[in-house]
């Protein structure tokens, strides 16, 4: 018996035992990291002080914790989970551990969309989200269409994604060079992927979008489990595989683009989180819940590291995630070489 079935009323959820253990371990670790994020800053606040501030106490230091540090920590957790889920979706669909949205150019596409909105329109939070999603969807469609013919083989799709990524990155640089100086400076800081200066005002719409996407994903989870058993089984149990794939990809693009709209392209979280989560959960396929938790852990951890590493300079979190994630990718490739 390695699975537990939770029942409540007419609903039942089947959860692997290993996943439950993982939850019991990861959730306290995440809570610890979040607390650390709330304590750390220009001045160190004791955990007791943090609890007091969250309870609504008045006073300058409490306002700093509630208005500055709390949104940043929440952004780290939620965005990390969203990136982890997006990575898991894309790695499932492409059946390749390297088929994550940042490698195949979706981040760059979402960034192009956001830049277009900033330079052409007013660049409000809602416009940014829409622009990023449109950019991400177009990039995904381009990669998909270009990889068609001769089957959607994993590595081929990844390398075509890299090429699309290169073109879009060049386009982004060009847009930034053409833009007004103020826009250019903001865009360059943003291009590394950063949670610096994220406030409550930036988070309302993105959190709502991510919540909706997660609910949609939960509704698809049964079909997803059946699809994981193989296309033939899925079809006989009434799952329309092609439509499911399209829905999944759209949810994945939505998650990636929403994060990019607020924080810029944060590389490699989506690549590493699903694989680490899968190993921790020892699950077949690439399970979504461990990917989400690992993503939250990685992003929040990387953001803390980015703040501490060269203090008092707060690095963009994307710098840390890129350096660590790139090493991870090389290790992943080296391991596969040894195995084959």
């Amino acid at each position: 018996m390695n699975a537990v079935v939770l029942r409540r009323g007419g609903l039942s959820v089947r959860v692997g035992r290993r996943t439950l253990v993982l939850l019991a371990v990861l959730v306290p670790v995440l809570a610890g990291l979040a607390l650390l994020g709330l304590c750390h800053g220009a001045t160190w606040a004791s955990p007791a002080k943090v609890v007091e501030a969250l309870g609504g106490a008045r006073g300058g230091a409490n306002v700093v914790i509630r208005e500055w540090r709390l949104p940043r920590v929440l952004a780290g957790l939620v965005f990390g989970a969203a990136l982890g889920v997006a990575g898991a979706i894309f790695q499932n669909v492409t059946r390749n551990p390297m088929g994550s949205p940042d490698i195949i150019g979706l981040d760059a596409g979402a960034y192009t969309g956001a830049l277009a909105v900033i330079t052409l329109l007013a660049g409000t939070s809602a416009q940014l989200t829409v622009g990023s999603v449109v950019g991400g969807v177009l990039a995904a469609a381009a990669v998909y269409l270009l990889s068609l013919g001769g089957g959607l083989s994993g590595l081929r799709l990844v390398v075509i994604g890299i090429a699309v990524n290169a073109i879009l990155t060049a386009l982004n640089s060009w847009i930034v060079l053409r833009a007004e100086l103020e826009v250019a400076i903001a865009a360059v800081g943003w291009s590394a992927g950063s949670l610096n200066g994220v406030g409550w005002g930036d988070l309302g719409i993105p959190f709502a979008v991510i919540a909706v996407l997660f609910v949609l994903l939960a509704l698809l989870s049964r079909a997803l489990h059946q699809a994981a058993l193989g296309t033939a089984v899925a079809v006989t149990t009434g799952v329309r595989v092609e439509r499911l794939r399209l829905q999944l990809v759209l949810i994945g693009v939505g998650c990636t683009a929403t994060v990019t709209a607020v924080a810029g392209p944060i590389a490699f979280i989506a690549l590493a989180a699903p694989q680490i989560g899968r190993r921790l959960a020892r699950a077949p396929g690439i399970p979504l819940l461990p990917a989400a938790l690992t993503g939250a852990l990685l992003l929040q951890g990387a953001d803390l590291l980015a703040q501490v590493l060269l203090a008092p300079v707060a690095l963009p979190v994307g710098v840390v995630s890129t350096a660590i994630g790139g090493c991870y990718l090389i290790w992943l490739l080296a391991r596969e070489v040894r195995r084959t």
């Binding site: 590595l155 390398v159 890299i162 090429a163 990155t169 490699f268 350096a323 990718l329 090389i330 080296a334």
Partner: protein, 332 residues
């Protein structure tokens, strides 16, 4: 026999045509800029210099820049041919494989630590970075063409992340070396480039001399032995040339991607499978491509310049997609 001779004649004619095109592009490139100079005046300035301001611009700024573009273009293109022939991987390229990024990173870090300053020191740093990158990428990714590309991309992004971190840590130091963060020819015509260009020229001649041996090696190890080629020596020399060419190009122009990918694919149309011809065409087409990209980099923005590496990425991305679609399956 006559068919072969006719083909040989066709290749010579095509190469001559490419050389004429190269001369034309160079003249246009020297004429284009904030102050446009008509082609006839450019030619007059090059043949018979007088003291007019146009001639000063041509001799002191535009011609050195064109020479720089031509040298870097030839080096990158020939390095691309060598790496593709050696690894039998049509997707290989010094930029995509992270060799260029390795050189650029080594120069930036070396400069920050105070090692650089002279052209020789920069060349040395570039070579060290290129060797390290080649060794790492080849060790991890040699099993499959696509995997090699992925390893190179991963290495490039790690180095980019570290460089960005260092820039934020030491903004003053790294601002002086931001040229190397993105490949550009602007402003480099003033730096000392005699030594790097000489190194590139020597390495190009070396590559052309090695072409026949490489042709034999490309046919497979057994065939190469019977043809009298020492496979290990040829491979070692080729790796050395790749490192020197990619390193020297990066030292003068910064990391420029995709030139080494595009040009061999173009050259293969004319040269077929012959490695010596492939190298000869690459040595002429590479400069043409980089000169055209450099013209583009000056024309694309009304207010200033686009780094030439952005232009080559625009051109090179589609070529990579085409190459993957054409050759990718065979490699899987």
């Amino acid at each position: 026999m006559t068919a072969t001779r006719r083909r040989q004649g066709g290749r010579v004619a095509l190469l001559a045509a490419a050389l004429v095109l190269l001369a034309g592009v160079a003249v246009v490139s020297i004429g284009v800029g904030a102050h446009a100079i008509p082609p006839a005046e450019v030619v007059r300035a090059l043949l018979d210099r007088d003291a007019s301001s146009d001639h000063v611009v041509v001799w002191d700024i535009r011609a050195p820049r064109a020479l720089l573009a031509a040298g870097a273009g030839a080096a990158l293109a020939v390095a691309g041919v060598l790496i593709q022939v050696l690894s039998r991987n049509p997707l290989a390229e010094p930029g995509v494989l992270g060799v260029t990024a390795g050189s650029g990173f080594a120069i930036a870090v070396g400069s920050a630590l105070g090692f650089a300053g002279s052209a020789a020191a920069e060349l040395g740093l570039a070579a060290v970075g290129a060797v390290a990158a080649v060794a790492l990428v080849y060790a991890v990714g040699r099993r499959s063409p696509l995997r090699l590309v992925l390893t190179g991309v991963a290495l490039s992004s790690v180095l980019a992340g570290v460089t960005l971190g260092l820039r934020l840590l030491l903004p003053d130091v790294f601002d002086q070396f931001r040229f190397w963060s993105v490949g550009s020819l602007a402003g480099r015509e003033q730096s000392a480039m005699g030594l790097p260009l000489l190194v590139i020229a020597v390495a190009l001649v070396g590559a052309l001399l090695l072409g026949r041996q490489l042709d034999a090696v490309a046919l497979g190890e057994a065939v190469a032995h019977t043809l009298g080629a020492n496979v290990a020596v040829v491979r070692g020399l080729t790796l050395l040339l790749i490192t020197v060419l990619a390193g020297a190009a990066t030292a003068v122009a910064g990391p420029i991607l995709f030139v080494g990918l595009i040009v061999p694919h173009l050259a293969r149309r004319a040269a077929g499978a012959s490695v010596p011809w492939l190298l000869a065409y690459a040595a002429v087409l590479g400069p043409i491509l980089l000169l055209v990209s450099d013209i583009g980099s000056r024309v694309l923005l009304p207010t200033g310049e686009v780094p030439v590496a952005i232009v080559t990425a625009f051109l090179g991305g589609p070529v990579l997609i085409w190459a993957v679609r054409r050759y990718g399956e065979a490699a899987l």
